[in-house]
Symmetry: C2
Subunit: 156 residues, 2 copies
DNA sequence: CGCGGTAATGATAACCATTATCAAGTAAAC
DNA sequence: GTTTACTTGATAATGGTTATCATTACCGCG
């Protein structure tokens, strides 16, 4: 008897929803429909920032799903390989994942080295600087990561 | 030979080698002298870019050292905690380490997602952009990481 | 529909970088 | 030289991630 909250965190990022985008991309790729994958896609769609595979798994299980941890990892790997998911390494040995928005909108992370908290930030000048570096180097740059490490407000 | 600077920041060791800088810092911290640590410090001093703990260990063993892998990890952790070593996470589940130069000079990395190659690059405009972000956010920023991912010249 | 081929699943074993443990070794204080 | 406790190297343990495998179930085809 689990009363479900009517309160839903829909993180509508303006244009096309990531959920629909990902579903179409998976269909186009020719994968079969499965409840395990649908569940992980739904979980990702509801995230504002990054979450680890185990966090996603725990959340799904406590919501009544019987999905296995292996399916969570498999789906994340699949989506990551398709460019639908961004993988973030905060340096604690745990990979975190968040949806890659089709319009290119994204953010980077502030990591507290004391308590492990992760916050997001966005900065156009930084993006521009990265873009210029990418054009200059002898390397085809597909993606980039930025992490600022230090102490959060609470730990400072 | 121990010229002591009473009121100086950590950045005014211009021209001094990282090897000497690290040795002085360790002595000041009060650690005992040990061959295992000296060997790791020497190995770090001799590398231009990052290397994993296991790479450092293998290199030392093939050079005749009998150092154990645990001592390599221990020394890297000690130096990292003292701010003498920078830890880099390229996303393959292996931490890499490189000396932190006392004058603040540093670089960031291009990571080939095909062959795993790591190259270094340096960009002042990018550093400036990061500096501005660090001043703007409600977070004390001590360090930062940038990784550009894609395909190296050979894999392109 | 009802097969049947096979992608997908979940439990679990294996993997592997890193960390903890501990008896033995050793630098430095006394 | 003796003492103290820091350090070491081997090895066990840890924990996130990946591989394995028997079972399930999606879906094209007749
Ligand atoms: Mn960016
Ligand atoms: Mn920098
Ligand atoms: Zn914190
Ligand atoms: Zn390459």
């Amino acid at each position: 008897m689990s009363s479900q909250h009517a309160h839903s965190h829909d993180h509508d990022h303006g244009g096309e929803s990531w959920d629909a985008h990902a579903t179409v991309a998976l269909a186009r790729k020719g994968t079969r429909r499965s409840s395990a994958r649908d569940t992980v896609v739904a979980a990702l769609a509801g995230q504002e920032c990054c979450a680890s595979a185990q966090e996603i798994h725990s959340r799904l299980r406590s919501d009544g799903s019987t999905i296995g941890i292996a399916s969570v990892y498999r789906t994340l790997e699949l989506l990551h390989g398709m460019g639908l998911v961004t993988r973030i390494d905060t340096g604690d040995g745990v990979a975190r994942f968040e949806p890659t928005h089709p319009d290119g909108a994204h953010h980077h992370h502030l990591v507290c080295t004391t308590c492990g908290a992760v916050e997001a930030f966005q900065d156009d000048a930084l993006e521009e600087a990265i873009h210029r570096v990418a054009d200059r180097v002898d390397f085809r740059v597909d993606a980039h990561d930025v992490a600022l490490r230090g102490a959060c407000r609470a730990c400072r």
